[in-house]
Amino acid sequence: MSLNSKDKAAVKALWGKIAKSADVIGSEALSRMLVVYPQTKTYFAHWPDLSPGSEFIKVQGKNVMGGLGLAVSKIDDLTTGLMELSEKHAFTLRVDPSNFKVLSHCILVELATIFPKEFTPEEHLSYDKFFAAVARALSEKYR
């Protein structure tokens, strides 16, 4: 299920719009994940305030979207392009890779609420594949 040229074009097309509200989308998606999948809070136990709109959520949301922006720019070789981030997730953060799917789902839901018309089934398909490819690249260094 690797990305074909149609997927890459679709991802880049919508990313232009997403990038304009990236910070908001990132923090909203993250807040959503913490509410819908409470087990993900275990990765943020060291942070006291996980309420929506908190400073931490804003910073983390921005980080996540920054990472995705990097992935869009390296879409032709995600494994190489995301190697550093993979090492970070594998050795420092040690996030169980199943959570990549969970966060991806929440970002897709957020995109649907913010871009109901633009997030067509074709865009959904390409973004679902893109997030899966990003997750694979991020998991590369785990073992």
Partner: protein, 191 residues
Amino acid sequence: MTQYTLQAHRPSNRCLWEGRRVALKVASGAGDLQTCTGKPRDSKMVEWTDFERATIVDIFSKMQYEVVGPAALARCLIVYPWTQRYFGNFGNLYNAAAISGNPMVAKHGTTILHGLDRAVKNMDNIKATYAELSVLHSEKLHVDPDNFKLLSDCLTIVVAAQLGKDFTGEVQAAFQKFLAVVVSALGRQYH
């Protein structure tokens, strides 16, 4: 996630090996994995908060079945093309435009969505409510239960697009919990 357990010394005529769909992930406060064990001991009811009940009733009372149903099924067939295997007699499913415009897809999408009505009306006994449908999907339609999750993800996305910012994290959690319970009930009678 599928786990197969050896059920020994069952006081019934059942085969010793039973395949069971495990891991009903309850997307709410506790977030614990609930395991379905043997039928005689499995009497734990799903508990719904007032907020969850009200949210589900509210979403379905405002539901545009003829828009959301077709959109959800079409999206599933487009985003997860292998699901098309169950619709060989639906005619033209060659591309996204064909799928989205296919009248059989639209009709069936509406049917499926109305199928959720009985769960909304029987939230305290969804398991029993879907026993017959579960047998149908297993014995007659031969649908891999993993597909139920794919369709429910697509339904979540379509409802999210409809409700926009009203589809908060709390509303999403309630909706996904509801769908997870339905999905579990539909997979219950597989063997």
